[in-house]
Subunit: 304 residues, 2 copies
């Protein structure tokens, strides 16, 4: 039983107050898959160009990620470059070269189509929808989106998330999508659009999960140093969904709220690890033991 | 065994997206005292003018607050007016008339001086220090400060907090005081200045407590509607310290970290109630049962 992950595989140029890397492996699909791979078997759907390095392919393969859905086509891999503000709460995009990603149309290999779990990274809503249409017997499906799609592709987005079990977004996206400034009411409105669970990611401030039975909130992990926040939200999603897949969630009816709460904490754990190094570097040495240890740390510093 | 509370008693004019009140009871000492009065006996040190209304006096007296340290002098009571932004994360001060507060010098009645607990609202650091000097046998003392004192009265402030057991500040104040952008390192530096415990208030995002044995974080209470955030930080302080006083904290050695964590949650509970009505209105009907019920709600929505 695997988790199908769809989204961008990219090269990123990133500058933060702690350093600068001109080109390194990135992209939502990459971060989600790496994070989720510590919990469950992952099958990737993405596209790269001829410049995609074998060492990057190997990094993913070494985490036992199924790459048969990773298309390699003529041209260059998606490239993004950005610079973070001093406090790292804002970032400015310096360059976005879509390259081969401009014509990306997710095509699921046959052996992906019957998998029970799917996580859709932030891409065009119609493409996200096409993934669900290629699958049968999905137990849990959800994903991410962003301001651009909410604003300029609203109808398409609404048609897409109508069939999702959960949506992962940030504060401002939840407010934009719902037209509600109050977060609780915003989440309620978004839930009426389809997803039974809405997870609002708040960066250093943690996350809130809203579902049929109430809500769960977790503060952010107080990191000693944030080297590079790129991909933290995607790693959150990967940890969240990876844990649910590991636990076989949704196999017999609605997902237990307590399981979802723990999934949010595992998401927070993976997001926090992501920030500790540039790009995906932290995942080269991370172990499941490290992850479980930080999960217990969360329990300790939130118990009273 | 009482808690001595020192700070401003004022009249406030407040405008938020949910309404406008031209003049109502306010001030740090008022909010702290009302919040703490649900946990412990409170003794107030403050100054008001001839315009201070008997109904406001009666409101405090009805909560069994000792007002023998509330001076009434010729002139007018401190008046502040401000307007909040649409999301209520920012506010603009429209008017500050210090009036009788300009010459405030805390004078503790004799029967205040031997009390074990003291909480110092945000006033000039030298005045905060003078309160401690008038007391003997204090078990726990702490308080609040603000950007203005940190920036323009730094030495005086350092001399004052050197003798405190805890300091309650917000994110930006912690960063300004310590010169550290990372919150954990900022708290560590502030703790080296004297206070064994530093509580960083983050408004809707909750609070973090740093102490000798580690840290504790609690998310904010997801309020359905914030009517007026004025005084929420002071109510947090009142709930925090009121609970510690109720529990006799510090009576035999250092305060138990778990007790401090619970105090932070009670602080969060009181801050959340404060926002539900304009000014101090919520405290007219609030009961200890409401408080304990919300404390349990916090336990439920943070457990995993």
């Amino acid at each position: 039983m695997s988790l199908v992950v769809v989204g961008s595989v990219a090269y990123d140029g990133v500058e933060t107050p702690h350093g600068k890397v001109d080109r390194m492996l990135g992209g939502a699909c990459t971060y989600i898959s790496l994070a989720a791979s510590f919990f469950t078997h992952v099958k990737v759907v993405a596209v790269v160009g001829e410049d995609f390095a074998s060492e990057d392919y190997d990094l993913l393969a070494a985490r036992d990620i199924d790459l048969s859905g990773l298309e390699r086509v003529p041209g260059k891999t998606f490239f993004w470059a950005g610079v973070y503000s001093a406090d790292m709460n804002d970032r400015t995009t310096l360059r976005t070269d879509l390259n081969v990603f401009a014509d990306f149309h997710p095509k699921l290999p046959d052996h992906y189509r019957g998998q029970p779990y799917a996580l859709l990274g932030n891409i065009q809503p119609a493409l996200q929808r096409s993934v669900r249409e290629q699958m049968h017997g999905v137990r849990l499906i959800g994903g991410d989106t962003m301001n651009y799609w909410i604003h300029d592709f609203r109808e398409e987005l609404l048609q897409t998330i109508r069939h999702w079990d959960f949506l992962l977004i940030n504060d401002s996206e939840a407010r934009l999508l719902s037209g509600e400034s109050n977060l609780g009411r915003a989440a309620e409105k978004v839930r009426q659009m389809g997803p039974a669970a809405v997870i609002i990611k708040r960066g250093e401030y943690g996350a809130i999960l809203f579902h049929n039975h109430g809500y769960f909130a977790v503060p952010g992990y107080p990191l000693e140093r944030v080297h590079d926040p790129t991909g933290a939200g995607d790693c959150f999603a990967g940890g969240f969904m990876g844990y649910l897949a590991e636990q076989g969630a949704g196999g017999n009816g609605p997902v237990d709220p307590m399981l979802m709460s723990r999934a949010v904490v595992y998401g927070s754990v993976m997001g926090s690890f992501c920030c500790e190094r540039f790009g995906v570097d932290r995942f080269r040495t991370l172990t499941r033991q490290d992850i479980d240890r930080r999960f217990e740390e969360f329990r300790n510093f939130t118990s009273f």
